[in-house]
């Protein structure tokens, strides 16, 4: 798996912001690392802010349902959700 795609870098930047340099490349390439306590230490409000940051970076808004109903435990869960939503947005084409 390519763990250094531009999208992944954007996701990590949106998720960790100023704290990004404090994590090793091994940690940031491990999809199994926990988002919360004992892992990346990202709380629920910081996670929500990451989605908002990504909306600015990616240029579209996430739908409510997939984000609200997602079970986001690990970094891989978060990246997977964002990747699916990016793909869904592309498939829908430009919005009016």
């Amino acid at each position: 798996m390519n763990t250094n795609t531009p999208l992944r870098q954007s996701i990590l930047q949106a998720l960790l912001a100023d704290r990004l340099p404090s994590f090793s490349s091994a940690q940031l390439s491990d999809d199994r690392i926990c988002l919360g306590a004992g892992g990346l230490e990202v709380g629920s409000m910081a996670l929500l802010q990451a989605f908002v940051n990504l909306e600015t970076i990616l240029g579209f808004t996430f739908d409510d349902g997939p984000v609200a109903n997602a079970k986001l435990t690990t970094l891989g869960d978060f990246i997977g959700l964002v990747e699916r939503e990016v793909a869904a947005h592309r498939n829908r084409g430009p919005q009016p």
Partner: protein
């Protein structure tokens, strides 16, 4: 019609009367219109269910009626400007639902901040409300102060569920809310649960049963005004 609030709706599947009574679900802070909507599939089939989304977007799947800052002893300190704006939009939305469905009023079910908004609607515009179920919300002091001394809720049925270990809206605020609503003339049923601030299936079953009881007790509530109007015009 241009609705005041984005929403989802589920039509009654068991119609005893037309139009069907309407229940409006009001979600809490940081949730969205799909939250309570998805948890209320078991609600009485005689009800049209409408679930609006709070107007202030925090992010995808997360909206609020107003912002607040927690205080250790006095409960949340709220953003009054956001509350005023959201309440006006919610009242407009309820008016639109009543006009669109041709019902004389709606049933309100709210959790947390949604319960607080429901109670604000009840005391500001009791004419729009047939009854209300509040779970872990509270009556704001400013709403209470505008209605104090007026029996605005005469005979209206209320359900109040509150968590015994609620860290967001402490139990004393829940109990004082009940006392205030009752003092305004409401007929209130109270339950306290061994939970925190959340809403769960057990509470929603109680709310559902309470709603069904109200519909059984007042089967013509939603159409009585229309019948009266027809008789007058006829």
């Amino acid at each position: 019609m241009s609705w005041a609030l984005h929403h989802v709706a589920r039509a009654a599947t068991h119609r005893e009367e037309a139009p069907a009574p309407v229940v409006i679900l009001l979600h809490g802070w940081g949730m969205y219109h799909g939250h309570l909507f998805g948890m209320t599939q078991h609600f009485d089939r005689r009800l049209d269910v409408v679930s609006p989304r709070a107007p202030v977007r925090m992010g995808p799947g997360a909206y609020r009626w107003f912002n607040f800052v927690r205080t250790p002893s006095d409960g949340p300190n709220i953003d009054h400007d956001e509350e005023v704006t959201s309440l006006a939009e919610l009242i407009r939305f309820i008016e639109q639902v009543i006009e669109d469905r041709a019902v004389p009023g709606v049933w309100l079910v709210g959790h947390s901040q949604g319960g607080t908004m429901a109670l604000s609607v009840c005391v500001r515009r009791p004419d729009l409300v047939l009854g209300c179920a509040n779970v872990n919300g509270r009556l704001l002091d400013k709403a209470w102060n505008t209605t104090q001394g007026r029996a605005a809720l005469n005979g209206k049925p209320f359900f109040n569920g509150h968590g015994l270990h609620n860290p967001i809206v402490p139990l004393p605020l829940g109990r004082s809310t009940c006392a205030r609503i009752e003092s305004l003339g409401a007929w209130i049923e109270t339950r306290e649960y061994p939970i925190g601030h959340e809403i769960n299936d057990e509470i929603l079953v109680d709310v559902s049963d309470w709603l069904s009881t109200q519909l059984d007790a007042h089967p013509k509530t939603s159409t009585s005004r229309l019948i009266d109007q027809a008789a007058t015009q006829g």
